[in-house]
């Protein structure tokens, strides 16, 4: 399986580079992105061939920058797309779908990007993988490294949720807690990447890593019967996921698998870390970094590398980058759980709350089809809702059950 990828290209100045472990343009420091031979993909990737592929993101290998599918991996991707009628009704809409990416091997969409990054890193001859992470990526890198027998170093902010640290360390990798926020961890890793011959999945192999996110768009289109929805709502941390979901739909149009019609792309941020939403509101073309202060730690990137590109996509498609309060995040988590049976981490609370806000503002018409991307599992951020839920506690005694439980549950009596 020769790759359909042709070269790396600077998104800022257009200079070309070979398909090596490069991530920024040597000249202007702009980010490098993989460029493909779409004629080759068009000839190869038919609907039949995709349908015969594995029930994982590797069914779209023709669209990914790797020479081969991995011989051992965790089969990430091909997660459920669920029609969320009760959520839709609550928001005054008719067609809402939830792409439930909590159903990945380590319970977040990061398994997609890590699958691609690790495979490419091994193809490029690296023997050690590493990452800077707000948690989900740490879990995924650790699990994939363990499955493939690759040594790994995982760097996280020291104040990260304990669940995410345990769910990384359990895989037997080197976990380094850095006393600082994510942006500090990221800066340290970028400096280490200059000194060590390690594959930092989200630093020096980032162009390959980021491509993994496109598979969310491919799956959504395939699961809808090979078409794009009218609108999508995507959480924004670095901004990479949003731009790659947009690229994924665009590519499907380019190779003739769906009609050429990019969905309107909405971005979701927390007010406590909403530099891209702020830039959108102010009509700026650059993103002013901020110091994050939000319960949505997986979105807490104050200096988002792809923020400017997320802004461009939202503006070009007629979308918006919106932000929500901490209370709205918690309400969003509960709304999604109570209407769909999906328990999301704080990032999904942000995404759901932004959908609710857009619907309330009349930005989404009743008949429009919207896909909500839920990218991580609620069990990772239990603290966010822990103090806000009520339960009953009684002795094993029937009359107590009647008096203290049934009396208070009007609906089911």
């Amino acid at each position: 399986m020769a790759t359909t990828a042709e070269q790396l290209k600077c998104k800022e100045c257009g200079r070309s580079y070979p398909l090596a472990a490069l991530f920024v343009c040597d000249f202007c420091f702009g980010p490098l992105e993989v460029a493909y031979d779409y004629g080759k993909i068009r000839r190869r990737a038919t609907k039949d061939r995709i349908a015969l592929g594995p029930p994982s993101l590797w069914r779209y290998a023709d669209f990914l920058p790797v020479e081969n599918k991995p011989s051992v991996d965790l089969q990430a991707g091909f997660t459920p797309l669920i029609k969320a009628d009760r959520l839709a009704a609550k928001l005054g809409l008719k067609k809402v779908w939830v792409k439930n990416d909590t159903a990945n091997p380590t319970h977040s969409f990061k398994d997609r990007v890590v699958s691609v990054a690790l495979q490419r890193a091994l193809e490029l001859g690296f023997e050690v993988v590493a990452c800077a992470s707000t948690g989900n990526l740490a879990n995924s890198v650790a699990a994939h490294a363990a499955a493939s027998g690759t040594e790994a170093f995982v760097f996280v902010p020291a104040n990260l949720e304990i669940q995410k640290i345990i769910a990384t360390a359990v895989y037997g990798v080197n976990v380094v807690k850095v006393r600082g926020n994510y942006d500090d961890v990221n800066r340290l890793c970028t400096e280490i990447a200059s000194e060590k011959k390690w594959a930092f999945v989200n630093v020096n192999v980032r162009p390959y890593y980021a491509e993994g996110s496109k598979t969310l768009a491919y799956e959504t289109a395939e699961q809808l019967g090979w078409r794009a929805p009218d609108k999508v709502v995507v959480p924004v941390a670095s901004g990479s996921l949003l731009t790659k979901i947009h690229k994924g739909f665009w590519e499907l149009g380019e190779v003739g698998l769906i009609r050429r019609k990019a969905p309107v792309v909405y971005g979701a941020q927390a007010e406590g870390c909403g530099p891209v939403a702020a830039a959108f509101k102010e009509g700026l073309e650059h993103v002013k970094p901020c110091k994050p202060d939000t319960i949505a730690k997986s979105l807490a990137i104050g200096n988002p590398a792809d923020g400017v590109f997320a802004l461009e996509v939202a503006r070009a498609t007629g979308g918006v980058i919106e932000s929500v309060t901490e209370q709205e995040i918690v309400d969003g988590i509960k709304l999604l759980a109570e209407t769909t049976g999906i328990f999301t981490e704080t990032a999904g609370g942000v995404t759901t709350a932004v959908l609710a806000k857009l619907a309330a503002a009349g930005r989404i018409y009743r008949d429009e089809e919207v896909v909500l991307f839920i990218t991580g599992d609620g069990l990772k951020t239990l603290d966010a809702v822990a103090g806000t839920l009520e339960t009953f506690e009684i002795d094993p005694n029937f009359s107590q059950f009647e008096e203290e439980v049934l009396e208070n549950v009007v609906k089911s009596t």
Binding site: E12, F23, V24, C25, D26, F27, C28, F29, G30, P31, L32, A132, G180, Y182, D183, D184, N186, R187, C189, T190, E191, S194, E195, F200, N202, V203, R206, A210, A237, S238, G239, S240, L241, H286, K288, P289, K291, I301, N303, P304, A305, D306, V308
Partner: protein, 90 residues
């Protein structure tokens, strides 16, 4: 005493492979001009139209100069400057 500047791998072809360069204290802008005298060509790579290029972050002792006074941020003796590509993370 002087200021230490960590040079990212992308710029080391201009510093003869050196990952660390020392200059006198001053503002970030003056230090970049001094770097340019030592290693011609480096200023063009860091600045565009008199501003830091948008995909470059400059930190003084770990703090992003955008949170301070940008190129006018003063750098004291013994401080360390990091020049880091913005393209990472997420």
């Amino acid at each position: 005493m002087s200021v230490k500047i960590r040079i990212p791998s992308q710029l080391r072809n201009l510093t003869g492979g050196e990952g660390m360069v020392e200059t006198d204290a001053g503002t970030v802008g003056r230090i970049i001009m001094e770097l340019e005298n030592l290693h011609p060509g480096i200023a063009e790579r860091l600045l565009d139209g008199g501003e830091v290029r948008r995909f470059i972050n400059i930190y003084v002792d770990g703090d992003d100069i955008r949170f301070d006074k940008g190129l006018d941020t003063s750098v004291a003796d013994g401080s360390e400057i990091s020049i880091v590509p913005a393209v990472a993370g997420g």
